[in-house]
Point group: C2
Chain length 353, copies 2
């Protein structure tokens, strides 16, 4: 049935001029000219109806809308983009789509975009700093504005990307030369709050299970750890990564330091650590305290629930979207913004043994 109707549509309707596009499958594309012809209006008028600009007599407008419906016409996005000089698309590049951290950002950004009649084009660099630059270069061609989330690429690449006619905004990274166009999270305060919490519980010896180095966020965290040492906290570091597997693998090394508390790079890593601790019979928080970072959904479903730091990701995405829109509107005085974080104390932390 459907197939039949489709074939009929395809077969009917003039049939001439179909040889013009040798590339595709034998499809008739309905254009604005077809609508104009069918409705007895000009293409300009059809355009006015579609975009609701200017003035069109109600009855003419109705005829146009009818023709649009009859023909199943949809404006060609490329043609609109070319004529308008903008695509109606916001690009976002994230290191890893699988990281829950970015979902809420993307979601909030989408909401902002929608309010602007735009959509969001998402790309994933797969945690590959080398690929980031190329992907961003590609993405920027399709977008009116670009948001780079926690970019890991070299500073020079990052700077080369800015100063184009398409505005670029960055989250979670602050670079001299990048100036104002960054929305960041206050990792420094977050880690410091975690340290303060542990210190107040009586911990004096802490091990930090570090994530990907090189990142600005990493640097901020290390700065906070250094500051914590001024309060008499001894902090050592064990390298890991950003996944549960990484945490699992780093558990023995963390334990080996003999520290009374383990601070994980993020919640995933913390859950991996927790799983290994359970295997080893190491009790949390009786034998060792454990903290995460990010407040993923699962953080409160682990046994025990995780003490962690919540990042208002929605707010981050919202702020980034709003700033991007302002940049696109031509405002050039976007201020860098630092989003505050929240300590969530649960039962994975307690007094040292």
């Amino acid at each position: 049935m459907t197939t039949a109707r489709r074939s009929a549509e395809r077969a009917g309707h003039g049939g001439e001029g179909s040889a013009r596009r040798p590339s595709g499958r034998g499809q008739k594309r309905v254009t604005i000219a077809d609508v104009a012809r069918a409705s007895g209006a000009s293409v300009a008028t059809v355009s006015r109806v579609i975009n609701q600009v200017g003035t069109v007599a109600p009855d003419l407008a109705d005829r146009v809308r009818e023709a649009i419906a009859d023909l199943g016409y949809r404006p060609n996005a490329a043609a609109q983009g070319l004529a308008r000089g903008r695509s109606g698309t916001l690009g976002v590049l994230v290191p890893d789509l699988a990281n829950q951290y970015f979902h809420d950002i993307i979601k909030a950004l989408s909401a902002v975009a929608r309010s602007n009649g735009s959509r969001v084009l998402v790309m994933d660099s797969n945690e590959d700093p080398a690929a980031e630059r190329d992907l961003a270069e590609d993405l920027i061609r399709y977008a009116d504005g670009l948001l780079l989330c926690s970019p890991r690429m070299p500073r020079a690449d990052l700077i080369a990307l800015t100063g184009r006619d398409t505005p670029v905004l960055v989250t979670n990274r602050q670079e001299p030369g990048l100036g104002l166009r960054a929305i960041t999270v206050d990792f420094f305060r977050g880690v410091l709050a975690l340290c303060g919490h542990l210190a107040q519980l009586g911990h004096r010896d802490v091990v930090y299970v570090a994530g990907p180095g090189g990142a600005w966020a990493h640097h901020e965290r290390m700065r906070a750890l250094a500051a914590a040492e001024d309060f008499g906290l001894r902090v050592r570091t064990v390298d890991a990564g950003s996944t549960a597997d990484d945490g699992y693998a780093a558990a023995d090394a963390a334990l080996g330091t003999g520290a009374s508390a383990v601070m994980a790079y993020n919640d995933f890593v913390a859950l991996g650590l927790l799983a290994r601790f359970a295997e080893l019979g190491v009790r949390v928080p009786d034998d060792v305290s454990l903290t995460g970072f990010d407040e993923i959904d699962m953080a409160r479903f682990s046994a025990p629930p995780l003490t962690t730091v919540a990042i208002p990701r929605g707010r981050l995405g919202q702020a980034a979207g709003a700033a991007l829109l302002r940049l696109m509107a031509g405002e050039d005085d976007i201020e860098g913004e630092s989003i505050p974080v929240d300590l969530h104390v649960r039962s994975s932390t307690g007094a040292p043994p």
Copy 2:
């Protein structure tokens, strides 16, 4: 002619004519004509160099590349799309970006797209069936092909979306009238395998914690549960949703049935159930057995690790991408494909008490 005059105006550098684009910030867009002028070649030659088609003398090509680098020229995507008649973009619509289930699909699809010189445009319907149709309509305008992942929209909407000039492919849903253009997962076998596993352990009374209804996947699962009853398994159903929170909330009801095993809609739900069980002092699997579905990363890090069914999501994405590409190439005889699944037995299941 026209082009020449236009370019001349712009090249004149007299500062006039810059008011032509009132919208943007005062930026000069570098076009292919600028590159042509700077390199002393024609636009056609520049185009050839960019796209590596036809033949260009090596030294001329070098001059062109040099000019491109000097001017920082980037081809305008909209113009390319319009001229070529395709956008070089594959669209994917997923119900929820936060669901890990879709990441691997998107990732695999991206890989396929890259091999085709395309990119992937991701959109998220936020689990809102009402929004799905509109988003898909929008997305399809920007894409050469569209993949709808586990769509929840009404059948009529789904069918209206197909039969366009842009090919549409669907995963995890099979509808008469949709015919061949679906890549599905064998949920039936997956659930049946789970039931078989439980039955062999000695369970006779099972409760299924159901996810979003209406979905085709739901139907398949129910079919499998019915089949399992033929083997003497009593199966009751408790409604929940698809998140850990939903599982947590449904735990008491599930326990209330007195069944000796709980089958969760997916791993998230299972983890939520597990958290509540722990609170209640219900031991898994000693007091009750528990199974998940999907094999998310966290499944093997829970306490106890989860017995679940793994879906080869990468394979699903790969198959979908390949089919989409074939569809776009004009092949019309795409076969529906059903991806097999794998039972992963871990320690959340055991003999009934």
